[in-house]
């Protein structure tokens, strides 16, 4: 059953050094606040899973939290490269980063298998691609009826999945809406689930077939308004596109990156403090 706690407590109690952690949110509802808290608590040696390791993982990788990355697309959407991600892979800075690389369709299927209690996923994938040459987790399987050969990959079952959602009710039921991405599967595939939310309400008022996580599959709920910044929260605030573009410059050099992270993440007490420090408070104020 969901416990309500501060994000600091949730990360301290559930995200341990060496853990396998998925931060999900497919170009929407990206759990930046939780990523920052992991950086603040100086977690090390994490295996990070994420379909789209965009700015959030650029920050965590650049700050040395990760030793391994499982992913399918690593870029700054609509902007360009992730400089810290590239620096880690190309030059091993600040640490060597082992990578396990899949396609989006495969990562989605792997989370589904994990959520479904299956050891592997089946898909039509990678025909003619070089990726299977470098990834022993991409194998083949024959259909027992037609003999056709398809792709099999192992289920993903993170130790912890972290997501950001629009709201929870006081029992801890969580509503996710808009672009729901892979969050439900990532949450249900994990051993523990942390959800940061824009607000906690008396009644969810979720449409009958909405994407809802019942309280009893959530470990911790943390109230973090604006917690997806610079990503967006459908119905609450828009993406901070200016920040995403500015990140290209901030992150390009190691020094400017470290200076920014020190000032805005390590030197801030929490995400509200971070938002004040970058003067983004007005951008993430709720519409409500």
């Amino acid at each position: 059953m969901a416990a309500f706690s501060s994000l600091r407590e949730a990360v301290a109690s559930l995200v341990h050094d060496g853990a396998t952690v998925a931060f999900e949110g497919f170009t929407h509802l990206i759990p930046f606040a939780a990523g920052h808290e992991v950086i603040r608590q100086r977690r090390r040696n994490l295996t990070l899973i994420r379909m789209t390791p965009d700015l959030i993982y650029d920050q965590m990788i650049g700050m040395g939290c990760a030793s391994r990355l499982i992913f399918s697309w690593g870029g700054n959407p609509g902007v360009g490269s992730l400089h810290r991600f590239r620096d880690a892979i190309q030059s091993g800075w600040p640490l060597p980063l082992e990578i396990e690389e899949h396609s989006h369709a495969d990562m989605a299927a792997r989370y589904q298998a994990g959520a479904s209690g299956l050891p592997f996923a089946v898909m039509r994938g990678y025909v003619g691609s070089d990726l299977p040459k470098y990834n022993k987790n991409i194998r083949s399987i024959a259909c027992p009826f037609t003999g056709e050969v398809l792709t099999a990959t192992p289920a993903l079952n993170p130790d912890v999945t972290v997501i950001h959602a629009q709201r929870a009710d006081r029992k801890g039921n969580v509503l996710i809406c808009g672009i729901i991405g892979i969050q439900k599967e990532a949450a249900l595939a994990a051993k523990k689930v942390i959800v940061t939310v824009e607000e906690i309400v008396d009644a969810l008022n979720a449409p009958v077939n909405a994407c809802v996580l019942p309280a009893w599959v959530v470990s911790c709920i943390c109230l973090v308004p604006g917690g997806a910044h610079p990503s967006y929260a459908h119905g609450y605030y828009k993406r901070d596109n200016a920040f995403c573009k500015a990140w290209d410059g901030i992150s390009r050099e190691r020094d400017s990156f470290l200076a920014w992270m020190n000032r805005h993440v390590l030197a801030t007490a929490d995400f509200a403090d971070y938002l004040r420090s970058i003067e983004a408070g007005s951008k993430v104020s709720s519409h409500a």
Binding site: F26, H28, G74, G78, V79, I89, R124, G125, I179
Partner: protein, 260 residues
């Protein structure tokens, strides 16, 4: 009206989409072309983005594949596993619209790395995303890419998603239901795969461009169709629609970065 090379590339790509076509759209130039088609000659084109938005009708171009404009204007928004399994792998996509960093003469694409080795690349690119399965499952694939010898190469540094697998027999392997990359639209012309050899052949040049210029910008010995045609000039309607779209986009996103 005058136009830029990027504009005629985008407009030529937009023309590839017919009304009612179901298009799986990559971000960037493919998205600009697909939305231009929608607001000009193909109002009922169905745009699917891998973020799960089906039938998106954005008024401004999305900066990312999952912008709120896509969700707010879509006929429905489904989960990411559903979009890949039920909609793409389920063979409901007519045209996959892709970009790439490198392409070879069989339409194989590289978005993974350039130079060095896989584990120590000179330039690490974003990676596969949805491309390998879009390339295989869409009924056909159109690629939008600016012409340069760096991009149009004899041999890819890495095959991220496959075209015709360097097999010149007109057949694609089992497990690949689509026709593959039929068309590459560039800022210089249009290159189309030859059904007999699967090799990409220059069939159209944009107005004022010569076949020699295109060959010069291509890293392999590009073949030229005997009946080389010239792309019809962008119409005022097309150009105005495209420029208005970029202007709206720049205003909405607070910069002109996507307008180019």
């Amino acid at each position: 009206m005058e136009y830029s090379p990027t504009e005629i590339m985008t407009i030529a790509a937009a023309r590839k989409l017919k009304n009612g076509t179901v298009c799986f759209v990559g971000i960037g130039l493919p998205s600009a072309a697909a939305n231009l088609a929608r607001i000009t000659h193909a109002p009922e084109v169905v745009l699917i983005y891998e973020s799960g938005t089906i039938g998106a009708k954005p008024d401004v171009l999305p900066l990312s594949i999952g912008d709120s404009e896509l969700a707010e204007t879509a006929d429905t928004v489904v989960s990411v596993p559903e979009i890949f399994r039920y909609w793409l792998q389920g063979r409901r996509v007519d045209v996959g619209f892709l970009g790439a960093a490198q392409i070879d003469k069989f339409g194989n694409l590289n978005t993974t790395m350039i130079g060095g080795t896989y584990h120590a690349p000179r330039v690490r690119l974003p990676g596969a995303g949805g491309a390998p399965e879009i390339a295989a499952a869409a009924k056909e694939v159109a690629i939008i890419l600016k012409h340069s010898k760096r991009a149009f190469v004899e041999k890819l540094d890495f095959v991220t998603s496959s075209g015709y697998f360097e097999k010149a027999n007109g057949n694609r392997p089992a497990g690949v239901p689509g026709r593959g990359p039929t068309t590459v639209i560039t800022d210089l012309g249009i290159i189309v795969s030859d059904p007999a050899t699967n090799e990409l052949i220059l069939t159209k040049v944009h107005p004022g461009i010569t076949a020699e210029q295109v060959k010069e910008a291509t890293g392999w010995a590009l073949k030229v169709a005997p009946n080389l045609e010239i792309t019809p000039r962008p119409t005022a309607r097309e150009l105005t629609a495209l420029r208005d779209l970029h202007a709206r986009t720049a205003e909405a996103h607070g910069s002109a970065a996507t307008a180019e």
